[in-house]
Assembly symmetry: D2
Homo-oligomer: 332 residues x 4
């Protein structure tokens, strides 16, 4: 057995593209209760940086105006300066590297690369410590920001799920080059078709999932997921979305794989967003990946509900013609 | 057995006096998430009428500027016009009546009276149906108003607890003249000292509690209580109060009598306010009042915590000299 | 306006028929955490009487061996001896009466009748107070029985939903003869087809629902519903059912009409059983029935999920041929 | 900056000494819902090995008969065989080592040592994978054991808190020799008196806390803590303990440091046991330890309650004479 690389600490930030930046910011700020910490450009058409009240980093969600919805740069934080150098060397050795940047808002120099499917990523270590303005200081010394009680009030960025053409290729990259643990897998057709992989650099169940894109496209987003502390908060989120006319695609309910308690909706720009709680932590260093086949997986919902067809096919950017006879899979 | 009178339907509205009307309105609107439906006078010094998102009546809480904190008029809704006439006749026969008024905001003619301890009350039947403005319309047809997700977001007025000099006298008035069920009692000294009584006109455990005032005063308020649907919401309320520097006197925890799940704080004007959930419903028409003595009552907290001294003595208006050797009792 | 009759206090007890009495008792005792308080006959083939830990009556659920699943006698408790006499007179005047019995386990003389659809019912006032054995005494003086923490641990009988051929006829009987409030209705085809009615004798939203039987049959049961205090308990129930191989038909999720938080499964005998929480209380004496049409009703699920086809058609006893072109409706 | 050692994966198992083994096993099995997986010796006087339904290891709690309550061996799992060797070398270099053993039930060879205060510990890598008997197999493929729904039903071992004479000495050992992160500290008297330290080898907030023992003793236990998934489950646990006559020392409530949601009781043998949920995860590799002084710490309870005197002084084994003028501190 080779020791697992522990060079990636956690998912740092996610950038979302949106054709309706003002409405997308409304969604995350007014409904989800995130704070706007920085803006480049105008209020309606600029780029916004947001955070959950429990996020350690200054900003974990970047909203960038674009012609179409989708995911921009996905940033991973390294565990140390040395870990950063090691990962950059490994990425370059794999031929996935793009080069160094001076870093985005809130972080220092970052190394840009693409995963095999083409999603933009970067890895960095230096981070600006968040200093809340007086009105956002918490009375809890161990909370980086006040719990405001506005709307859904998500606590922090949790994970994201990416559509890709080849799950094995991207899964191996995450395991071997980034050093993640493979927590669970969905494999159909007696082991022939790898449909989904859930990976994490830490005891958290997954911070990235790769799921087969039935449209045969590249670089698409399935969903980005924000954490709340209790299943009751997920249900409260459902009430808030329903009261504000936001379409709920699925949930609140409980997945069988990951045991995650989910609520899926679309932000006004079109990206699927999850409010998430539950799941389980994995501490065992010799974790044996849990593999689900068609029969074991069932609908993917532990309590027996079904997920809508859209859940298997819809991603951003939206693509026109789904591949005929594609294997349709419900990712999570 | 005589059939129980069922002429009072429910607690209609509570008026609170406050020396800091602007801050009291901030407390109930911004933190508790209630809506302001009407105002008489200025924004800072006027009288405000508020409602919880699930309240059927247009307004259930009236905030009235005054020199000192305390409770104003407590309004009870009759079950029918005939029931109103019957109760008025009974109240007048007891010599407690004050006479008819044209009604306050949101309700028709009302009959004013005082309970034996001197608290101002009224009874009415006619009520204006609440019609929310467009931005407060719920997507749920059976919800009178949108669930906004702002702060504690209390659902409705639930009950109030009144200090009084003689619990038996006021308790009998509530039972015999208003027709309430006596759900629970606290009686000390081998049955000699009646310390508390919890009464209700409906299956709800109590809508009014009478508690012995150790200060020997009259007409004081112990607390007014607002309902949320889950114990998780009470804990969320505690976080919101703590983040906003609001003093928490006790809770969240669970009373043994009433089984209520409580959180007590003071609004800026000084009145004690409870966020409340749990408890239990009483359907049995031959309910046998549950009576607690000193030993059974213990601290009044089911899980073993203690309530602070202030909980037994503090009421509004604040009075100077508590009676020496007074029996101190923790009401709920 | 005529004053509403307040002669029925609450739903007293429900009898279920089962072809698998031993498994049905296992379901309610081992999984649902109810206690067996009485048995007539053998352990495997006898009639069992059960209770929830918070039920005031000695027994609220009767399990009776039978050839087919279905509902037996539905017992209503009168508010007083006089109320009982008044209701019996009204029932007899309507021609629905069957006559007096000496009462079932735990209650005194009862008057038997049938609702217009033919469901067996009775009304009674005298009730034996429940006295728990030492091992089932609660440390809470206001709790009739110990909270054991076994399985789902339902608190009390809440309501039942009955299939019937004519909703209007049965709904009027419940309103006019039994004196219930009509809380909500579902009416399709521009007011022509009354599909469902939710009725209650108390502030509880409904204790009986009448729903159009698409099979055109008589006397069938849609479901019986047991209460837990929190939505978290409903989700815990879902985990327990799933772990024990019990089929979950729908939920946990939230209905739009009634706002009830539901979880539907079938007990081994075949009857649909709900674990239930949430909903809302109705205190207003002039409550205006909330009426839903096709469009407003949607799927009947507030957060957007759909209910399975079986939910609209399956009832007990199971009948062979559903009526062609029947209007299919999701009751609750 | 030196890279943090990541050689310890997690807390593996805790051994409790008890003078009443049969009652202690009843507590953890019947009330807490843990399973007995192995026993050495008689049912009443033997050593028992237990597990929570979500524990990955076969056994995480060992109940050992002894003359007095207290903590036995605390086992840490290494991240790899190489990590094990590195930690053993470091421990030996510090002079704390005792030597190799063949391992306890469920794990392979283990290296025994003592922390500076004298608590027995061991570190190991090899672990036997848990294989549940048929009746304990879960329907969830990613759950090592069935969720039985019995009693409190704790999910897994979470952490423990140890009394010690010198917090700095033991804290440094945990940081430097075992490689843990120092999440939070309590330091009184303007930085002179280190009263408590919360440490963890993973993003979980703490898996061991060191707290100053006001009795000046060595090797004592403050509490062992078991995890449930929701705050609602902690409250349900409180109801179960209260119904079974188990003394509740404090909670359910929320600590300010750690943000943990706690419920403290004593198992029949005398050891303090916590049911725990909430808290927060720490992902930042450059986490800046949160330090609380007297004023910031307050009562240690976020919502304002106080902890009883016993919480600061009681530990196991019980010692006779507390040191005069000892600094009393509420650990967590």
């Amino acid at each position: 057995m080779v020791e697992r690389i522990q060079d990636v600490a956690h998912l740092g930030a996610v950038e979302l593209f949106t054709p309706k930046p003002d409405r997308t910011v409304w969604f995350f700020h007014d409904l989800f209760g995130m704070e706007i910490v920085h803006r480049d450009g105008d209020r309606d058409s600029g780029t916004h940086y947001l955070r959950g009240y429990g996020d350690h980093a200054a900003a974990t969600l970047k909203i960038t105006p674009a012609k179409a919805a989708g995911v921009g740069c996905i940033a991973w934080r390294a565990a140390s300066p040395e870990a950063l150098e090691r990962r950059v060397a490994a990425i370059e050795a794999q031929g996935h590297g793009l080069g160094w940047t001076n870093g985005d808002f809130g972080r220092g120099r970052s190394y840009r690369f693409r995963d095999p499917d083409g999603h933009a990523m970067e890895i960095y270590y230096e981070e600006v410590r968040y200093a809340p303005p007086p009105e956002l200081r918490s009375t809890l010394k161990n909370l980086p920001q006040k719990f405001t009680g506005r709307g859904v009030n998500v606590r922090r960025m949790d994970h994201l799920a990416l559509f890709c053409k080849s799950v094995p290729e991207n899964r191996r990259f995450a395991q071997e080059t980034l050093g993640m643990r493979l927590s669970e897998q969905v494999i159909f057709n007696e082991g022939r078709d790898e449909i989904g992989a859930w990976l994490s650099p830490s005891p958290v169940h997954h911070q990235v999932a790769y799921v087969a894109d039935s449209a045969g496209a590249h670089g698409r987003l399935h969903h980005v997921s924000l954490w709340v502390d209790n299943r009751g908060d997920v249900m409260r989120a459902a009430d808030i979305l329903a009261e504000n006319g936001v379409f709920i695609e699925a949930g609140p309910s409980k997945h069988n794989n990951s045991q995650g308690f989910y609520l899926y909706s679309y932000e006004p720009g079109g990206n699927r967003v999850e409010v998430y709680s539950g799941s389980y932590l994995i501490f065992a260093p010799d974790w044996q990946t849990v593999v689900w086949n068609e029969k074991e997986r069932g609908t993917g919902v532990y309590w027996g509900a079904t997920l809508p067809e859209s859940f298997a096919t819809y991603g951003t950017p939206v693509v026109e013609a789904p591949k005929a006879n594609a294997t349709v899979i419900d990712p999570m």
